[in-house]
Each structure stands twice: as C-alpha cells, then as structure tokens.
Symmetry: C2
Subunit: 110 residues, 2 copies
C-alpha cells in the first residue's frame, strides 16, 4: 500500500513525457497507450491518461485523428507535434539533472 502511494507521487509530471516518448515512434490510440503505460508501471488506470491526453491536445503537444477504418469501434490516434518534440527534449534534460541529484543523495545515504 505504502509503495503505491510513493509511486503515485513519483509519477506526477513524468507521465506526460512518457506519452510523448511513446508517440515519438509513431501514432498510438488511447487504450494502446494505457496498456503500454500500465505494463511499465507508469499509470494505475486510464483515469490518469484521458484527462492528460485532453490537456496535451489543448496545449498542442499531440494531434489527434479519428480512425474508423478498421474493425471494432472507432479509435482516436494521437501523433506527436513539433512542439511536443521540443518539450520532450527539454524534459530529458531536466530529468537527467534531477535524477542525478536524487541518485547522489540515495547513494550517500547507504
């Protein structure tokens, strides 16, 4: 239980860029992203993802496209935009730097 609470807070602010990283390989639709992120332990439920995608859409980080060509119910595919790519780069820098500081502290505490 306590571990879930730790993870929940750690995920804040990371998830958005994980989505961008996933999309940098190509379009994906909502549930596909959700399954992938769940497998990686980066979300606990879809309840995090859909509101996030809506925000990212509004901020121009991703570009959605309805696709009803296949079988089953229509899917909304998301593609990363140029703005999104820039944000991903900026995140990588901040993440690396902050991660190094945290690792340094954890190392030192053993």
């Amino acid at each position: 239980m306590t571990e879930e609470r730790i993870a929940t807070n750690l995920r804040k602010g990371v998830l958005e860029y994980c989505v961008l990283a996933l999309l940098s390989h190509g379009e994906k639709y909502g549930l596909e992203l959700a399954d992938d992120l769940t497998t990686r332990g980066l979300i606990a439920s879809e309840g995090s993802l859909y509101p996030l995608l809506a925000r990212m859409r509004e901020n121009g980080l991703v570009e959605p496209r309805w696709d009803a060509s296949g079988t089953g119910r229509p899917r909304r595919y998301y593609a990363i935009t140029d703005v999104g790519t820039d944000q991903l780069k900026a995140f990588a820098q901040v993440w690396t730097s902050l991660g190094a500081q945290v690792n340094a502290l954890l190392e030192g505490s053993r």
Copy 2:
C-alpha cells in the same frame, strides 16, 4: 520558464525522501535543509519545505528537537526515525524501478 514548470512537477513526491536521505547522515535544522535542497535544485523556496517537515513530523518519519544552546534564535533540529529509515528504503526501490522505465523510454525515443 517552461523548464521550471517541468521541474516543479518532477519534484512531487521526491522531496520527502531527499530530506530523509539528508537526515540519514545526522541531524539538520530547517534552513540548513532548505539551503542544501535549493543548491541541489530540489526545491524552489522554503515554502515547500516547512509544510513538508510538518507532515513528516505528524507521520513519525522525523523527530524534532529544539536547540537554543548556540547563538542566534533557537533552531529546530530534525532526526530521522526508524519509520523514516524504512520509508527511505522503500522509496529507493520504487525510484530505481520507475527511473529505469523512464530512462528506457527516453533512450528509445532518440
């Protein structure tokens, strides 16, 4: 500016355990912690630290002690408790695992 916003969200849930890691070396008082964390880029102002210390106190992760022996106004020194030590260990595991996932995504997105 955008980088600060990224960092702000990344810090969520990390700060608490950075404080524990710092205290695992020995007692420290509020402003001392604040200065250290600011230098490391882990907080933006004391406004994050004091409410956090209050929470950690209530949860039994740290044990405060007033010290008025020195010069200047009395300082409140914080020591890590056994519960805090356990939490720090739990965090280290979650952090390592989640960090590996994020790194894997960032690597793959290049």
